[in-house]
Symmetry: C2
Amino acid sequence: MMILGMDTSAVAASAALWENGRIIGEHFVNVKLTHSQTILPMVQNLFTACGKDITQVDEFAVSTGPGSFTGLRIGISAVKGMAFGTKKRCIPVSTLEALAYNLIGQECVAVAAMDARCQQVYTAAFQVSRESVQRLSEDRALSVQALREQLDEISSGLPLILVGDGAELCYNSWEGSGVVLAPEHLRFQRASAVCMAALPRRGLCVEPALLAPEYLRLPQAQRELLQKQNKA
Amino acid sequence: MMILGMDTSAVAASAALWENGRIIGEHFVNVKLTHSQTILPMVQNLFTACGKDITQVDEFAVSTGPGSFTGLRIGISAVKGMAFGTKKRCIPVSTLEALAYNLIGQECVAVAAMDARCQQVYTAAFQVSRESVQRLSEDRALSVQALREQLDEISSGLPLILVGDGAELCYNSWEGSGVVLAPEHLRFQRASAVCMAALPRRGLCVEPALLAPEYLRLPQAQRELLQKQNKA
């Protein structure tokens, strides 16, 4: 059984191959480059480096949001195309849930936080153990301040670890919160974690046509339009 | 400041770019392919994916052993060539010490174990904390059984976590040891960890000509020759 996982939800981009219980390859970059230009060559190089072929993939997993509007569409479109072309199905994964899988192996509460700009974060909390990840709250868009005020509800005696590209923003805003920052190499969206998060969701496989982004908020242009209409 | 890290010490192979406090890219594979054919294309693809160039690298870090005799020579030769060609220096890193860096962020003792065949492992222990790794024992070749017998000396109240491509071998042989297996995505040699392990060793930079493998044991052919000579 082979899964190709992909994440292009923010600045970092990555692709990973999972086969029979093992990550057999992962290509990860965390630089401001255009995902639409980089992601497919990255997937091609990953297959070559692993000596594998796209026809060997059984299921395609992708983080479907929350995240950058353009970034999510690039990843989802690429996966739709590959799955449609090879007549395979797709596993949509919450970007925040995948982030929690970066911390698997530690007994903690993962506070996943992605930078949603304007001092807001996309966030959800997960109880992480040696072998599993359990969701504690739904994916939401919150201000950094509002998330801090909700930490007490999340806390359960376990260490709280901030993970995601909004983790540092929260950490720096919350002086004395006692919350810990995930180490840099586990802080960002990773396709290997998308593969791991996809495994218990294999029953939720969909046809490529049904794969859709989960934005949580309207795009900025639509928010501004609504604001104007409400004022009028 | 940019560091290129590389690991080809065993079955897995990887290259990573570290720049100013961040892993900006990592290409990792864990399949039985010939490193001499795969590692340089992997490095080239990593540079392309990150929009960087070899001339921007300030220092080259590589795991110099213990590990596979051929694997180590491939990685070291590749790094020697790149550093010599760009007139830069190299940071040799113990493969076992780099493995401990996979676990950075957790408060634990990392028992790094690489499969040395014949029920032996290359091993060393490290105290790992949120931000640092401290060596507790020298790199050694030990039988799986002998390592188990030394666990009591290593233990310090912190959880013992087995990491490395020999971790599963030890874990499966040590029923009821209480030792934990590192999660699969952090278990194997990673070039990102080589970069992290290189950072506090920058003062130990060497000219490429001085980079040399640390085998810990003689190659099998030499061991057999010595055995024959002793019998004669």
